[in-house]
C-alpha cells in the first residue's frame, strides 16, 4: 500500500482553469476599495444575483451555441418577445401566471426550433438566420405590445425574480434587525463539505486507475479559496433576505447544463462538433440533429430569461433585452470559451457572467458614467480574451 502511494505520480494543479476565478476576486476587491466597501453590503451582494440572473441563464445557452462553433444574434429580441407574450396574456387576457410562464417558454422554444430548422435542415449560416430572428423578434415584440409597456404583473409572477425562500432567522435583535438566515449558513456548509469530498474522491479514483494525482496542499489552498468565496457570498445573503428564488432557478439551470456538457453523450457530441464538424459527422454524430437542438435549447432558455426579466421589471416592455446577446456572449468568452468552438465550460461562462455583473454593479456604485461603463466593459472583454489566447499560444 505504502509503495503504491510512493509510486503515485503527482502533478500540479492547472492554475489556468482558475485564472478567471482569481480575476473575479481581483475585480471584486478593486471595487471594494474604490467604493469604500459599498459593494460588500448584503443588499449589493443580493443584487449581483438579482440583476444578473438572466445573464447567467443566457450565458449558459449561449455557451452551448459557442461550443458548437456558432453564434446567435437573436437572443435579446427573443427574450423581449417571450416576456411580451407572457405579459400580454396576463394583463389583457387574464391568463394565470403559471400558464403565461409556460407560454413564454413555448414561444422561446418555437423561435429556437425555427432557427434550428433553417440552420440544420436547410443549412443556412446561423449568422444570417439569427440576424433575421433578431430583426423579426424585435418587430413581433413591438406588434404584440403595440409599442407600449404592459404591466403591472401580479405578485405570483414577479415572485420568480423578487421572492425569497421562506426560512428561519437566527441571532436577530428583538426589533428584527441584524441576524442571519439559518438556511444560508446550512447551504454554505453543505457546499463546503461537497467541494472537499469531491476532491478527495477525485484523488482516490485517479490513484486507483493509476492516473496522476494532484499535490494535496495545492488542493487544500484551492478548496480554501472556493469555500471562502461561497461562505462570504451566502453569509451576505443570509444577512439580507435569505435565498432569492432567482438564485435557486439559476442554480438549477447551471447544474443541469453542467451535467449535460460534462457527463452526457449529447454534451460530448456538441464539443466534438465544435472542434471539428467534418470529423464529428464521419464519427457517427448526427450533426444536423445536434445543430437543431442547440438552437431549440437556446430558444427555451430565452423563454426562461424572458420570464425572469419581465418578472423583475414587473412589466413587459418592447425595449427589454436590448443588447443581451452581447452580455451573454461576453460572459462565455471571458469564461474561456473559444470563438472557433469546441472549447469552454458552463462554470466558466457563469464565472464570466459574475465578472460582468460585479463590474456593472461596482461601476454604478462608484458613480461611473454609463457611457464610461461601456468603455470599461469593452476593455475588460478584450483584455480577458487577449490574455487567455496569449497564454494558450505560449503553451504551444
Amino acid at each position: 500500500m505504502e509503495n503504491a502511494v510512493k509510486n503515485q505520480k503527482k502533478v500540479n494543479l492547472s492554475l489556468k482553469q482558475y485564472g478567471m476565478v482569481l480575476a473575479l476576486i481581483a475585480v471584486y476587491l478593486i471595487f471594494a476599495v474604490i467604493t469604500g466597501g459599498k459593494n460588500m453590503a448584503p443588499m449589493t451582494v443580493n443584487n449581483i444575483i438579482m440583476q444578473n440572473g438572466y445573464v447567467i441563464i443566457l450565458g449558459v445557452g449561449r455557451l452551448i451555441c459557442v461550443l458548437s462553433g456558432n453564434v446567435d444574434l437573436g437572443v435579446g429580441s427573443v427574450v423581449a418577445t417571450c416576456g411580451a407574450v407572457a405579459g400580454t396574456l396576463i394583463v389583457d387576457y387574464g391568463v394565470s401566471s403559471p400558464l403565461a410562464m409556460l407560454a413564454s417558454l413555448a414561444v422561446g422554444l418555437l423561435f429556437g426550433a425555427f432557427v434550428g430548422f433553417f440552420v440544420a435542415k436547410l443549412e443556412i449560416p446561423p449568422f444570417i438566420v439569427t440576424l433575421a430572428t433578431m430583426l423579426m423578434g424585435r418587430g413581433i415584440c413591438y406588434v404584440i405590445l403595440q409599442a407600449q409597456t404592459k404591466g403591472p404583473l401580479p405578485a405570483d409572477y414577479t415572485w420568480v425574480s423578487t421572492g425569497f425562500l421562506p426560512t428561519i432567522k437566527i441571532g436577530a435583535a428583538a426589533d428584527g434587525t441584524g441576524g442571519v438566515y439559518l438556511i444560508c449558513l446550512i447551504i454554505a456548509a453543505v457546499i463546503a463539505v461537497l467541494v472537499v469530498m469531491g476532491d478527495i474522491r477525485g484523488q482516490k479514483v485517479a490513484a486507483k486507475n493509476g492516473l496522476p494525482t494532484i499535490y494535496t496542499w495545492q488542493l487544500a489552498v484551492k478548496d480554501a479559496v472556493i469555500i471562502g468565496i461561497e461562505t462570504f457570498f451566502f453569509y451576505k445573503l443570509g444577512c439580507y433576505n435569505g435565498i432569492p428564488i432567482m438564485l435557486i432557478l439559476v442554480a438549477i439551470v447551471v447544474a443541469i447544463y453542467h451535467f449535460i456538457t460534462t457527463q452526457t453523450v449529447a454534451g460530448r457530441q456538441i464539443y466534438a462538433m465544435g472542434g471539428n464538424a467534418k470529423a464529428a459527422r464521419l464519427s457517427g454524430i448526427n450533426t444536423q440533429k445536434v445543430f437543431f437542438w442547440v438552437y431549440a435549447n437556446m430558444g427555451l432558455l430565452c423563454g426562461l430569461a424572458g420570464i425572469v426579466l419581465s418578472a423583475r421589471n414587473a412589466s413587459a416592455t418592447p425595449k427589454a433585452g436590448d443588447g443581451f446577446e452581447m452580455d451573454a456572449i461576453a460572459s462565455c468568452y471571458i469564461g474561456g470559451a473559444a470563438t472557433s468552438g469546441g472549447v469552454g465550460t458552463v462554470i466558466g461562462a457563469v464565472v464570466g457572467a459574475f465578472i460582468m455583473g460585479i463590474l456593472n454593479i461596482g461601476m454604478s456604485l462608484a458613480g461611473f458614467d454609463t457611457n464610461v461603463q461601456k468603455i470599461v466593459k469593452g476593455a475588460v472583454l478584450l483584455g480577458a480574451v487577449t490574455m487567455d489566447l496569449l497564454g494558450k499560444r505560449k503553451k504551444k
Binding site: V205, N209, G210, L211, P212, Q263, T264, V265, A266, G267, R268, Y271, A272, G275, N276, K278, A279, A280, R281, L282, S283, G284, I285, N286, A338, G342, V343, K396
Partner: protein, 517 residues
C-alpha cells in the same frame, strides 16, 4: 561565382520532437532541372517549405546558399524577392478572379498604389504566351479553365514574379497524361531559356523525362544524387534509392491467419457525383472480402477509391446510390454513419486531421468518440471510468507514444495521431474495416506498427480493405487486391500476381478497352 545556383547544407527541421529533415545536403546547378524523389513522408515538401521561407529561419538549422550568398528567409515574400518561387501541390488561385488578376495575385501591377489594369492585362497576355496559353482570354474567371491549364497559370504567375529558381511540388498529380506532357515540355522550354527548376514528383517516368539530376531523400536524409549521362536513370534504380531496403522488412508477415467466409460483399454499386446527378463516379462495382482477409484497393488518384469507401460507409459521399451491401450474408441498409457503425462497419479516413480527429481534444476524447453511444454510456450518460480505462488499454496496446490519455491529439506526431484514429475505430468493435491511406505521411517505424495492428485485426477475423496509393504497401500487406480505374473495377490480383507492373498493366488495359469503345 560557383556553377551552383543553390546549395542546401545540413538542413535539420523538427516537428514537436520528430525529425522530418535530418542533415539534408544538396546542390542545384544553374540552368538544370533537378528532381527530388522520395516516398511519402520522406520530407520532400518540408524541405521545399524550408527553402521558400514557409518555415522561417530559426525554425530549422543549416545553411541555404543561393547565388553565392547565405539566405535567411523569414517569409515567402523574402524568397520570392530573390527569385525563388514555389508552386505548391494545391493550386493557389482564387477561383472567381480573372486570369489576369490571378497571374498578378500578390504581385499586382500598380501605379501609386492603384492597380494599373491596362498593364495587368497586357503583361498577363505576354506571360500566357510564354506558357502556351496565348488563346485564353485574360478577363475570364480562372475556374472556367481545366486543372491542367490552371497549373500553367500558376507557372505564368511564377514567371510574373521574375523567378530564377522555380520549384514545382507534384505539379502533375491532378493532370492527365496529355496535360502532364504539355507541362513537362514547358519546363524543358523554360530550361532552354535559362531557368533553373526543382521538381518533386512521384511519377518516375516523368522524372526520367525532364530531369538532369535526381536527389533522393529517404526518412529525412539525402541518400544520393544521380546525374544524367553518368548514372542509371531507370525507374528501378530510383526506386532502389527511395526504398533502400528489402521490401520484406517493411511489412510484418501475417502468420496463423486463416481466411474464413465472405463477410462483406458489395453488388452492383453505382454512385453519382454529389453536385452533378448525371456524372457517374462509380459504375457496377462488385467486391467481396472474407473474414481474416486483407484486400487492397489500388488505383491512381481520382480512380474513385475514397469515393467508393465513403459511399459504402453510411452514404457519406455521392447521390443516387444504388446496389446492395451484404454483411455476414445479410443485406444491410446504411443511410448514415451511425447506422454503418451499428452494422459493424468502420472507415478510417485518408485525411486524419480534417475527417478523423478533433485536434483540440484529448486522446481519450477522440478514441471513444465513435463508440461513445454504444459502448461507453447508459441512457445518454457517459461512463467516464470505463472510458478512461479502455482508452488507457488501447493506448498501451497500439503503443501511442505519450504520457497520458489526456494529452491533446493536435500535439502528437502524425504516426501517433493515426494510431489514435485506428483505436477510435477498433473501439467500435467492427467486423469490416476500410482503411484509407492508413500510413500516409508517417514515418517508417510507425508504419510498421500500424501494419502490425492490421495483422492483429485480420487474425481476429475482421474483413479489412486497404486503400493505398503506394503500390508496395498494397503488395506488402494485402492477400488480394482490386484495381480501380475511372470508377470501375479494372482487375483483380491475388498473392504472387500482385506486382507494380501487374497493377499498372490492369489500369492500362482498362484504359485501352475504354478507348476502343
Amino acid at each position: 561565382m560557383a556553377e551552383y545556383i543553390l546549395e542546401m547544407n545540413h538542413i535539420v527541421k523538427e516537428f514537436s520532437g520528430v525529425r522530418a529533415l535530418d542533415d539534408v545536403n544538396f546542390k542545384v546547378r544553374q540552368g538544370e532541372i533537378m528532381a527530388i524523389c522520395g516516398e511519402n513522408g520522406a520530407g520532400k515538401s518540408t524541405l521545399m517549405n524550408v527553402l521558400s521561407g514557409v518555415y522561417p529561419h530559426g525554425e530549422y538549422s543549416g545553411d541555404i546558399i543561393y547565388k553565392g550568398e547565405e539566405c535567411r528567409f523569414r517569409r515567402i515574400r523574402d524568397s520570392e524577392k530573390k527569385g525563388i518561387v514555389i508552386i505548391h501541390q494545391e493550386l493557389a488561385l482564387s477561383p472567381y478572379l480573372s486570369i489576369a488578376e490571378n497571374v498578378f495575385l500578390g504581385n499586382e501591377r500598380k501605379k501609386n498604389g492603384i492597380i494599373d489594369w491596362v498593364e495587368t492585362r497586357r503583361e498577363a497576355q505576354t506571360l500566357l504566351e510564354k506558357v502556351g496559353l496565348e488563346r485564353e482570354n485574360v478577363n475570364v474567371p480562372v475556374n472556367t479553365l481545366g486543372v491542367g491549364k490552371q497549373q500553367l497559370i500558376e507557372i505564368a504567375k511564377a514567371l510574373g514574379k521574375k523567378a530564377d529558381l522555380l520549384i514545382l511540388d507534384e505539379p502533375t498529380a491532378a493532370l492527365n497524361d496529355q496535360e502532364s506532357k504539355q507541362l513537362l515540355d514547358l519546363m524543358l522550354q523554360l530550361k532552354a531559356q535559362g531557368m533553373t527548376c526543382i521538381i518533386i514528383s512521384h511519377k518516375l517516368n516523368e522524372i526520367s523525362y525532364v530531369a538532369d539530376s535526381i536527389t533522393i531523400i529517404r526518412d529525412g536524409h539525402t541518400i544520393e544524387t544521380l546525374e544524367k549521362g553518368k548514372d542509371d536513370f531507370s525507374e528501378e534504380r530510383i526506386i532502389k534509392g527511395m526504398v533502400g531496403r528489402e521490401l520484406t522488412n517493411r511489412y510484418p508477415k501475417r502468420t496463423d491467419c486463416p481466411i474464413g467466409d465472405v463477410i462483406f460483399q458489395v453488388k452492383d454499386w453505382n454512385v453519382y457525383h454529389p453536385d452533378d446527378s448525371t456524372r457517374p463516379i462509380l459504375k457496377n462495382i462488385d467486391l467481396q472480402v472474407r473474414a481474416g482477409e486483407v484486400v487492397g484497393l489500388a488505383g491512381l488518384m481520382g480512380a474513385g477509391r475514397t469515393e467508393l469507401a465513403m459511399s459504402l460507409f453510411g452514404k457519406s459521399y455521392g447521390q443516387k446510390i444504388s446496389g446492395q451491401v451484404l454483411i455476414n450474408g445479410k443485406e444491410v441498409e446504411m443511410g448514415n454513419v451511425q447506422e454503418a457503425i451499428s452494422q459493424k462497419m468502420a472507415y478510417v479516413s485518408e485525411d486524419r486531421k480534417t475527417y478523423g480527429l478533433v485536434l483540440i481534444d484529448s486522446i481519450k476524447f477522440n478514441m471513444t468518440l465513435s463508440a461513445l453511444r454504444n459502448f461507453f454510456s447508459r441512457r445518454g450518460i457517459v461512463d467516464q471510468n470505463s472510458e478512461a480505462v479502455k482508452a488507457e488499454e488501447y493506448r498501451r496496446r497500439i503503443n501511442v507514444k505519450t504520457n497520458s490519455i489526456e494529452q491533446v491529439v493536435g500535439s502528437l506526431s502524425g504516426g501517433n495521431q493515426q494510431k489514435v484514429v485506428l483505436a477510435k475505430w477498433m473501439l467500435t468493435q467492427p467486423d469490416v474495416l476500410i482503411l484509407d491511406e492508413p500510413t500516409r505521411g508517417i514515418d517508417v517505424g510507425a508504419k510498421y506498427e500500424i501494419y502490425t495492428v492490421i495483422n492483429e485485426l485480420a487474425k481476429a477475423g475482421k474483413a479489412i480493405i486497404i486503400i493505398s496509393s503506394e503500390m508496395p504497401e498494397i503488395i506488402g500487406t494485402c492477400d488480394r487486391t482490386y484495381v480501380l480505374n475511372e470508377g470501375e473495377i479494372a482487375g483483380e490480383l491475388r498473392g504472387e500476381e500482385m506486382t507494380q507492373e501487374a497493377i499498372m498493366g490492369a489500369i492500362m488495359a482498362h484504359n485501352n478497352r475504354k478507348g476502343e469503345l
